[in-house]
Amino acid sequence: MDTQAMHIANGIVNGTVSAIFAAFAALALAFCVWRARADLDDRLAPMAGLVAAFIFAVQMLNFQVLPGVSGHLLGGTLAVVLVGPWVGALCVSTVLIIQCLLYADGGLTALGLNITNMAILGTAAGYLLVAGLLRVLPKTPSGLGATALIASVIGVVVASQGFVFEYWLGGTTQLSLPWVSGTMAGTHALIGIGEGLIAATTVATVARVRPDLVYALRRFRKPPAVVPAAPATVSGGTA
């Protein structure tokens, strides 16, 4: 088997900068846990576990974007649409931590860098775009798919530039920064399209099967039609 390093490895960015980002990531995740508690209920909690497991699975599916270059989904936008920004960032982080500890993917020293880029920056960018786009795009499965596609492309490029920023602060090699930035942006724009197609398919499918489980659609859902006078039948089972 080819050995695959998919995330930032140890030693690419120096120890000091890695430590600073580890502290930043820890603080950001603590904040996410605090905000996520308000969102997590009996329904969202298992759904979030599924989203994390799904992201783990899809991150294994590297697709070719250029000759000799592949990419895989990062998952921030997908998570934002399905479980919201706070829980979503925690889902991606869970995946990154398990990959780092069990699968030796992404250095332990570099874990803060990887979490910052993929779980925090990518997710935050995805969230802002999803929130903005859903104001104008239709709240239908296809509208949601288009939203996820566009937000994924930009979210992935933003995440890639997070690495460029970290490399600028503490890169251990002397490569031209515009070159690193351009190469990362170029390949990740292509990766973002692949990610966007996967995310769009996934969220559109969930929106078709169980629209009530899509976090991003919650705000727009009409409250269940109120039957004025007769409280005769209390609807039980159906969610």
Binding site: H7, A9, A48, M60, V95, Y167
Partner: protein, 115 residues
């Protein structure tokens, strides 16, 4: 948790298990966008050793958990590469669902509202 949600979760997990257990074997083996950028500027021998040039990868250090039995998405001791990758994927999906779902379940707010 309602029965309907249970079915949805079971279906979703099945898809994830198939993706990680089976489809993963058809994934591209090329370095990903970041890894490719890290290799740019170096020349490599046929077996992947750096033979010259300047690139980020030269500074890469050993991973702390490189000895993990699951390192690099395979299971040590299983020689069949398809089985090794597939099982590592299946295990990863279950572990992620178990740990992730477990933590989220513990974090959830416990209001008596009916779902």
């Amino acid at each position: 948790m309602t029965k309907r949600l249970g079915w949805f979760l079971a279906g979703g997990l099945l898809v994830a298990l198939l993706l990680a257990g089976v489809v993963s074997n058809f994934a591209s083996g090329s370095p990903d966008g970041l890894d490719a950028t890290a290799r740019e500027g170096c020349t490599f021998s046929a077996d992947g050793e750096i033979t010259g040039g300047t690139c980020m990868l030269q500074q890469e250090q050993e991973h702390q958990t490189a000895d993990s039995p699951l390192a690099d998405y395979g299971i040590r001791g299983i020689d069949n590469p398809y089985l090794s990758t597939g099982l590592a994927g299946v295990l990863g999906v279950l572990v992620t669902f178990g740990i992730g779902g477990g933590v989220f379940w513990l974090l959830r707010r416990r209001t008596p509202e009916k779902v």
